[in-house]
């Protein structure tokens, strides 16, 4: 009892000890850690300044390839002189404003959709109109816009198209598959299990090959499907199977009491899932879901194997131009930065979403 009474008088141990104290406690506490710290500092000193010099000081920014070869540092000219082709591929040069505008609409919509309080009916209409406008801009053929065949689409718009449609279509499909796999109806259940296991059993590359080479063999003479569409479907089907398994994990984490409480107030299966189970289950699996979405985003680069010119392929094309051969480091660093921006914003957004949704815990 005495301890309880005195508890108020005991101060918590001092934990704030200033910079020097922090350095001492975290970097030099013991012989081994001190050695590690010194070695790390040495490596940083060896690596960082030369890189900085290569990338920013000795580098050529907007020159001919000839000038680039004489410079000691990075040749960013390969980007600045070729960025139109890297970003838009074989899309007609004078029409580049169209995919550019389409991308801006997409970014605008994505940016506006960040805030959950905007998730209302007008936003849905906004997306429908936006997607329609984007398609119109890309394809053309009316309103005085010259028609551009999808075989000429390429670069960043193609990557974004495959990724955005792939992810937004794969997610609901995955949720439906997960629910189907837990269904009490044996037919539905078996179909879903078969689907998930078969798709997960093959690499994405083989699915893409199938969609581009084998699938047309089954079509009657003269009937063709758009190549981009076929790749898009392959990506959706592939990603959905993985999402389904992650979501199933979330569903299994739900206690029976939640189902019973929902049922006991008279909610039917659909409402129980929509209002009670899925909001909780999907929240639990945000981290693994985002991993899948991120890897699916990067996997869109595999469409090079069926000769679609996505961002990575257009970059490689520039590198195969004799004039710019040998500057692959700079080109790949640039592409890596673009991919990183995409992936990092996804992971950042997911963290924000998780935080917002965890208010109730």
């Amino acid at each position: 009892m005495k301890q309880v009474v005195q508890a108020g008088e005991i101060r918590p141990p001092i934990t704030h000890i200033g910079v020097i104290g922090w350095v001492k406690n975290n970097l030099f506490n013991g012989v081994f850690n001190s050695i590690l710290t010194v070695v790390t500092l040495f490596l940083l000193w060896k690596v960082v300044p030369p890189f900085f010099r290569w990338a920013f000081i000795d580098s050529a920014w907007h020159t001919t390839s000839q000038a680039c070869r004489e410079a000691a540092g990075a040749c960013w000219s390969i980007i600045s002189m070729n960025y139109r082709f890297i970003l838009f591929g074989f899309y007609p040069y004078e029409q580049h404003w169209r995919p550019f505008l389409a991308m801006m609409i997409l970014f605008g919509l994505l940016f506006y959709s960040r805030d959950r309080s905007h998730w209302k009916k007008p936003l849905a209409y906004g997306w429908i109109i936006g997607l329609f406008t984007m398609g119109l801009l890309m394809k053309g053929g009316i309103l005085g816009l010259p028609s551009v065949e999808s075989t000429q689409w390429g670069g960043l718009p193609l990557t974004l198209l495959l990724a955005v449609f792939g992810l937004t279509a794969a997610y609901p499909l995955g949720v439906i598959l997960a629910l189907g796999r837990r269904s009490r109806m044996p037919g539905v259940k078996i179909l879903c299990i078969l689907y998930i296991e078969m798709i997960r059993g093959v690499p994405l590359i083989s699915l893409l090959f199938m969609s581009s080479i084998i699938f047309p063999l089954f079509l009657p003479e003269g009937v063709t499907f758009n190549k981009i569409l076929r790749a898009q479907v392959a990506i959706i089907l592939f990603t959905a199977a993985y999402i389904a398994e992650v979501v199933r994990g979330g569903l299994q984490g739900m206690s029976r009491g939640q189902y019973e409480a929902a049922e006991s107030i008279g909610l039917n299966y659909y409402l129980t899932m929509r209002l009670v189970i899925l909001p909780q289950a999907l929240k639990i699996v945000i981290p693994p879901t985002v991993s899948i979405l991120i890897s699916a985003f990067k996997d869109t680069s595999l469409v090079v194997i069926i000769a679609l010119f996505d961002l990575l392929k257009t970059t490689q094309s520039v590198l195969s131009n004799p004039e710019w051969m040998g500057f692959s480091r700079e080109a790949y660093v640039f592409v890596a930065i673009l991919y990183f921006l995409g992936c990092f914003s996804m992971s950042n957004y997911s963290r924000k979403l998780e935080k917002e949704l965890s208010r109730g815990d």
Partner: protein, 252 residues
């Protein structure tokens, strides 16, 4: 058996020779029970005796395999529409509250009315606030369940059921998961509910509650209703050996 009352008009719930098995385990062994409107019944018995299963059969959280169960004139069959109709009329309070953790308290309460009864949102929230007042917890309306104590959560759960304006309330050990100091606040709400004439079936070991509000106390053991009587008779003159043994164990 004296628990079988004569069938009369307006019976709320009727069990006729109901059997249920969990695999090989015969959990309900021929239950006959009829509950009048506004009647309050307390069911007690050792764990595994089938008392929870019995009341969970009433809103079909468990399926019975033989016999008939009729709730408010509707027989429970595989007809899913009937089941949903009955569930909307029968409120249930669980041992572990089972509030929806991702919704605020007022959202927890208005969910059923809005989606099942198609009540406009504003009206549903007003009803929710009315019942929150009733369970003395209106000031917590905008919080999430995780921010409330066990006793408060259980009162919210009771209010959630009441929002559906049920004809019967089922309580499945409503105070068993609570810390001792919170039991009273929940029982008080239940007593108020009883005074308003709600039909109630309560599985509980709170014998004080049974004495003060129940019309009948049933004792279950091994899947059967061993005996049932008015609280006075039940506690003063238990008929069966097993009832006596059970009472001696819980009434120290």
């Amino acid at each position: 058996m004296n628990i079988e009352k004569k069938a009369s008009e307006g019976q709320m719930i009727e069990f006729i020779d109901v059997h249920k098995w969990f695999g090989e385990f015969h959990v309900l062994q021929g239950i006959n029970l009829s509950v009048d409107r506004q009647e309050r019944i307390v069911i007690c018995g050792p764990s595994g005796s089938g008392k929870s299963t019995l009341i969970r059969c009433i809103n079909r959280l468990e399926e019975h395999q033989r016999g008939r169960i009729v709730v408010d004139g509707i027989e429970l069959t595989n007809n899913i529409k009937n089941i949903e109709k009955i569930r909307a009329e029968v409120g249930m309070v669980f041992q572990h509250f089972n509030l929806f953790p991702h919704l605020t308290i007022v959202q927890n309460l208005s969910l059923g009315p809005i989606w099942v009864r198609k009540v406009p949102k504003k009206e549903a929230e007003e009803t929710a606030m009315y019942y929150l007042e009733k369970v003395h917890i209106a000031e917590q309306a905008r919080k999430f369940p995780g921010q409330l104590s066990g006793g408060q959560q259980q009162r919210v759960a009771i209010a959630r059921s009441l929002c559906m304006n049920p004809k019967v309330m089922l309580f499945d050990e409503p105070t068993s998961a609570l810390d001792p100091e919170m039991i009273k606040e929940v029982l008080d709400v239940m007593i108020e509910l009883a005074q308003e004439g709600m039909t109630m079936i309560v599985v509980t070991h709170e014998m004080g509650f049974a004495k003060s509000v129940a019309h009948r106390v049933l004792f279950m053991d091994f899947g059967k209703i061993v005996e049932g009587n008015t609280p006075e008779e039940f506690f003063e003159h238990p008929q069966h050996e097993r009832t006596k043994l059970f009472l001696s164990q819980i009434l120290h």
